[in-house]
Symmetry: C2
Subunit: 259 residues, 2 copies
Amino acid sequence: MEKEKRNVRFYISYDGTRYRGWARQPGEEMTIQGKIEDVLTRMVLGTDEIPEDAKRIQLIGSGRTDAGVHAKCQVANAMLSTEKTDTEICEHLNRYLPGDISVKQALTVSRRFHSRYNAVSKTYRYTLWHAPYKPVFDRKYVTVMEKKPDVQAMREAAAHITGTHDFKSFCGNPHMKKSTVRTVKSITIREDGPYIRIDYCGDGFLQNMVRIMTGTLLEVGTGRMKADDIPRIMDALDRQQAGPTAPASGLCLMCVDYS
Amino acid sequence: MEKEKRNVRFYISYDGTRYRGWARQPGEEMTIQGKIEDVLTRMVLGTDEIPEDAKRIQLIGSGRTDAGVHAKCQVANAMLSTEKTDTEICEHLNRYLPGDISVKQALTVSRRFHSRYNAVSKTYRYTLWHAPYKPVFDRKYVTVMEKKPDVQAMREAAAHITGTHDFKSFCGNPHMKKSTVRTVKSITIREDGPYIRIDYCGDGFLQNMVRIMTGTLLEVGTGRMKADDIPRIMDALDRQQAGPTAPASGLCLMCVDYS
């Protein structure tokens, strides 16, 4: 008789440097979802090898992160039939996952909880570095600026982006058929020594959207665009009008909020 | 005519993970001193290749760091004949050094300044991690503890270590012929979430001394030794009496002070 399944929610940190992104892809070993599903499937089956015809555990993430993007606290859930406690599941995952993926917590929750559908907002942080010297210890998690950008101009541009808009100009997927309307609740830009941290909070983000917003803010910060250009760029509904896609390595999913 | 030489002081950060330590060694490519000397020598010669008979620039560090040990602010100096400004020297080094070595500042100083002889104290930090989950972003810079150590007992042990003593029991070099008397000015142990940070300030440290002190404090913190065992261990002047050498990766040279 099959044991009853329970819904387990996970808080996950990862250094995305080595990975092709969150989402499992056929024939691609290096995805974060795939790595965690492998360990969960072996755990539930109680085997070291996963048979060809085995039913794999499906892990539902709050959303995808691009190749090279990091997460401090990604949220995911999976239906599991196991006699292990939540703590034991967490320990098992941390023992068998590689050192650049860590499960901060595993918690059995209501069967109705869905990491993606129930998410009400997400916060991403983009970290820039400007100093006469290079970053050492967090060199894989920041984007180095040759010149210091004009942070005040970036804040003015960010004010134009904030709010509910059609973000088609900031969408990296040219074939997107669903609505490209999103609400960016806030964009906060903080300076801290050599760091400039841009926090984006929104109800959801389109593909590459945070990186394109960052690339556009940096066009303003380096004087190649003006803050007042933003409304025209947004109205154009044309990816070509916005700035370039900022590098993945500076981006980190900080948290996902649920109601 | 040879240009006049000037004495340039460097503040250097490095991630020691890939290196065989600070000190240049014959036939060993991967040393921090060697990497910086190579770039400085090529800069001064104005060539891409260093001829066999070239006089290499000698970089004097405040002291050695072991293989795998990091530095937030190592200090070094070298006599250079170059027409570059200090800022240009710094930029040149950061352009040609690998991403895990960064020169924070280059500054021309008195010819009498000597990084090693003039140092009056050094601060090293050892970082421990204890949580039900693994560290991700600083996993190469912390030592993970299975169980949380007893920090209060470690503080009591640290109080016995602090002061001027013969630290022969804490010296990793069994052939040390010079004095093993050193002054540990302070040992500060702070808890911050999953981190336990141990800061050691002293006038100088013997080979492996900070790592052996840490290993000994951890013996006390995990209950295998008692804080009151420390005076006996120190009096024994015997490396075998102290705890094991803690892993290099948790250790970082934080700063070097000059009078």
